[in-house]
């Protein structure tokens, strides 16, 4: 590995911010009790106060009340809880139809597939070349049997931001619950549930310099949801399990630290990367040119394969990601690139670059320099693109 190392895979996970670690430390070492009621012992009460403050902080970032925010182990659990919890609550009562998109991340996609096996019908809305849902198509897809619509806030690979206000308005009008997976959007892309009437929101801490192993689910008051993680009565009796108090405190601190100024910084890096990388011949941007996550750039290069690009970049000290089948554990090409109408070749040569707090504009330039060389050297040995 090269001497310097530039991490540009912040869409996979991020480095913890030291300030988050500092906020968490006392809840590992000093105030390590479980949260107890006000009639318990003082350490438990202190722990509960910390948990309550963390909950209130994150909830307020979403425009929600504290009791509408449930801590979970990660966004995977949150999305499972949302889809399966609503299905269990309304499947028999109202109907067995769910609407989602083909480019959702795996927790939503595979929860939907699991429900299909249980007899639910799932409609996968077509998305356009940028990954956007057509609100009219959603309107047409809703039937009296529809119990839930799940459309992501931002795409995990290509960064496309959905038009949630339009989608939420339709769901509200038709009386259908709306879940959004905001794993990659929260807390950077503002979402206020008072203005945008979503009913369930999946969030996580580790993609914005918070700890791994803690996420959450916003549940609008009155939303029917069956508890399926059984045990104790934690989290308003919706999710059993010992509270991850250090995690909750860290999550709240990470949310505090994600400022609009930082979003602007990330966006500048993203735009620099996109501008420079599109100068490489036979390249194209995946996702929307403007409606995209501030931290995400995703470019496909023809005639080269993503895993090879990634390994060459690793040797030069850069970490990025690719939608190539060769890189995935399942040998499947990115379902997102295929879902937006791309072919296998476009997925094969796709490179996702995701910035974080500890990156600089120089990193974007250094990556562009390295990637220009890597793509050109791989093209030199490729049988394609010579003529």
């Amino acid at each position: 590995m090269s001497e310097h190392f530039i991490y540009l895979d912040n869409g996979a996970t991020t480095r913890l911010d030291e300030r988050v670690l500092e906020a968490m430390r006392p809840y590992f070492l000093d105030t390590y009790a479980v949260a107890t009621s006000q009639f318990g012992y003082s350490m438990g009460i202190d722990a509960k106060d910390a948990m309550d403050a963390a909950r209130a902080g994150i909830a307020s970032a979403l425009g929600a009340e504290p009791e509408e925010f449930i801590f979970t182990s990660d966004s995977t659990e949150s999305s499972n809880m949302a889809l399966k919890g609503v299905a269990l609550a309304l499947g028999e009562k109202k109907g067995k139809h769910i609407i989602t998109t083909p480019i959702e991340d795996f927790p939503v996609l595979y929860s939907a597939r699991a429900l299909e096996k249980q007899g639910f019908k799932v409609t996968y809305l077509k998305v356009d070349e940028h990954g956007l849902v057509d609100p009219d198509e959603l309107r047409r897809a809703i039937t009296p049997e529809t119990i839930l619509v799940s459309v992501q806030a931002a795409n995990q690979e290509i960064g496309t931001l959905q038009d949630l206000p339009a989608i939420a308005a339709i769901c509200r009008e038709r009386g259908v619950l709306l879940h959004t997976d905001a794993t990659h959007a929260f807390p950077r892309v503002p979402l206020d549930v008072r203005e945008t009437p979503v009913d369930l929101v999946t969030v996580t801490a580790h993609l914005s310099h918070g700890p791994k192993g803690v996420g959450g689910l916003y549940v609008r008051k009155g939303t029917p949801l069956v508890k399926w993680m059984d045990g104790g009565f934690q989290e308003f009796n919706l999710r059993a399990g010992v509270e991850n108090i250090p995690g909750a405190v860290g999550f709240a601190r990470a949310v505090e630290l994600a400022t609009p100024e930082e979003m602007a910084r990330l966006q500048a890096m993203r735009d620099r990367a996109i501008e420079r990388l599109l100068q490489i011949p036979h390249s194209r941007l995946n996702g929307h040119p403007t409606r995209r996550l501030p931290q995400n750039a995703n470019i496909s290069f023809r005639f080269v394969e993503g895993e090879s690009v990634l390994l060459h970049l690793d040797m030069r000290g850069f970490a990025v990601s690719t939608g190539s089948a060769c890189f995935s554990r399942s040998l499947e090409a990115s379902h997102v690139i295929l879902g937006i109408g791309g072919d296998h070749e476009r997925a094969h040569g796709s490179v996702r670059v995701t910035f974080g707090r500890f990156n600089t504009l120089e990193d974007a330039d250094a990556l562009a320099d390295a990637l220009t060389e890597v793509v050109s050297s791989l093209r030199a040995i490729s049988p394609l693109g010579k003529e």
Partner: protein, 211 residues
């Protein structure tokens, strides 16, 4: 390094041997296709007298294991007679590389196929195919193992897309468990025609889709 590849694989990936193109080669072959994933081109020159491979080069549109296998297979084949080179297997290539992850077998087997196809191309061009063996269903199935299902990047046989193979009077009929309007139906069909159309006793290849 926490990579699944051996040091030797990485060395061949970083600095592949025999990479590039031979202008006006005695024979060449391309295996794989961009629509399906990895692709390898192999070029050979053959000493007519000794029937030895005097020069060999390859090009790769693929992942690290594909590039490394292209590198090692050309090293192994260089200087060998056509008969010897034909017998080089994927296992030998993998062994010479200090091992390859099983999941990467598909990407790396392409280079071995490329070498064999280039030798076959040479033999066909030079009228060296002595005994013409009649095509069998086994041979068709073997060739279909080299047609990729682009949905998953694995071959048609392994992903159980081949429902039926018919062979009668020079006509091959392949029935696929795939709707005709599937996104990759046309690509897969074309690949099958390419792979089976060159069989000497096959006049027609029919690809049928279910529903």
């Amino acid at each position: 390094m926490p990579l699944p590849y051996s040091e030797l694989v990485m060395e061949h990936f970083r600095h592949p041997h025999n990479v590039g193109r031979i202008e006006n080669p005695d024979a060449k072959a391309v295996e794989g296709s961009p629509a399906c994933g990895d692709m390898v081109a192999v070029y050979i020159n053959v000493d007519e007298e000794t029937q030895r491979i005097s020069d060999i080069k390859f090009e790769s549109y693929g992942c690290a294991s594909n590039i490394a296998t292209g590198s090692i297979i050309t090293e192994l084949a260089k200087g060998k007679t056509l008969e010897e080179a034909k017998k080089i297997t994927w296992q030998q290539a993998a062994e010479a590389l200090g091992g390859l992850p099983a999941i990467k077998a598909h990407c790396s087997v392409l280079a071995v196929d490329g070498l064999r196809a280039a030798i076959q191309n040479y033999e066909e061009r030079h009228g060296l195919i002595k005994e013409r063996v009649p095509t069998t269903v086994e041979e068709i199935r073997r060739r279909l193992k080299h047609v990729m299902n682009p949905v998953v990047g694995l071959d048609l046989v392994r992903t159980k897309l081949v429902k039926e193979i018919g062979l009668a009077e020079g006509t091959v009929r392949v029935v696929l468990d795939l709707p005709a309007d599937h996104q990759f139906a046309a690509t897969i069909r074309q690949d099958i025609l390419d792979k089976l159309g060159t069989l000497w006793d096959v006049q027609q290849v029919v690809v049928e889709f279910t529903e």
